[in-house]
Symmetry: C2
Subunit: 204 residues, 2 copies
């Protein structure tokens, strides 16, 4: 299997972290793409994913799987030991809820804030500064929800480390590109963030 | 269990369709909210979901679950017969990929196009018309990907009806609010859409 990805892209980092937590990252051949150079919008890459997004997993039979969480789910099903997406119905649902909250109301908003305020991909999209600024201030509000949740839970979705922690951590680190940092006074969020730094997967 | 929802909201319809397909919709008490009237942004409702979004599932012990696909996943795990999220690792991953494609690159874009071009929620957000127009034209491009996929597959994610079909159908119907309709010449998409109308769950 091959993973088409980029060391600087937050979605690719989510998948690398997930694979490292599963202990299988070193079994996958990683192929680095230059996103700003346009590797992902080439005709060739669109054969792998018509939506031109990374990461993309290539199977040995020449088929492809894209969407970060779909790739994670594939490996979760293949390697159900040390689960990162829950085992009971309520655990699975709760992890899905928190993973989606972190992704939809934070990670994706940070991404749009970045693209629309910096013009990083201005060769392929039209940045709308006013929208970018709405996103940047919207993303900042999410820290409070995380801090409140972590006041009563060791991890984002409860008692166990999960894919929700991966999305939260990757998004918080990515938010630096729009100069957004965790407020110092949010002690629960800070405690969790420091705890996350102990996991070998943060560095992959 | 209670489901806080709205008959006119696409996310609520996704969950109702999913529950109807599982044959359990009539076991759930549905509570209708007036979204434009602001029921979901009240202090009381934010106790159920701090992000003020519907649908929300209330358990009998007074705890809550939000995010449509998290609610679906809960019922998928409770009632694994007639699966809507796949059974093998590759099926699960492929359905997750297509569900997310339909949601991220179509449903969510239609939603932003609607909010930013019509000002429907102008009491609680600042519509940015230019961004709304980018979304409307972006959403229109997605039909082509669906038509190409349906040229070789009976359903959106392959041989079986799944949650990806639900998201696609609900999003296509919702797209009428921005005057977006399936292009007539897309025969595969049209064939699939007509086939979907035969399912009793479309009307719930």
């Amino acid at each position: 299997m091959k993973l088409y990805e980029s060391k600087t892209a937050p979605n690719a980092r989510r998948v690398r972290m997930f694979l490292a937590e599963k202990g299988v990252l070193d079994q996958i051949e990683c192929v680095e793409l230059d996103l700003q150079g346009g590797d992902n919008i080439s005709v060739e890459f669109r054969q792998k994913n018509p939506l031109a997004k990374i990461p993309v997993l290539e199977f040995d039979d020449g088929t492809y799987l894209s969407e970060s969480i779909a790739i994670c789910r594939y490996f979760e099903a293949l390697y159900p030991q040390s689960p990162l997406m829950g085992t009971t119905p309520i655990e699975q649902a709760n992890i899905e809820m928190w993973q989606r909250r972190c992704e939809i109301y934070f990670m994706n908003i940070v991404g749009m804030g970045f693209q629309h305020t910096t013009g990083f991909f201005a060769d392929r999209m039209k940045p709308i500064k006013e929208w970018g600024e709405v996103c940047v201030s919207g993303a900042a509000k999410f820290f409070k929800l995380l801090d409140a949740q972590l006041a009563h839970n060791q991890y984002i979705a409860g008692d166990s480390f999960s894919v929700a922690d991966i999305t939260a951590l990757v998004s918080i680190d990515f938010a630096r590109v729009i100069k957004l940092r965790m407020p110092e006074e949010m002690s629960h969020l800070k405690r969790w963030y420091e705890q996350m730094q102990q996991r070998p997967s943060v560095g992959v």
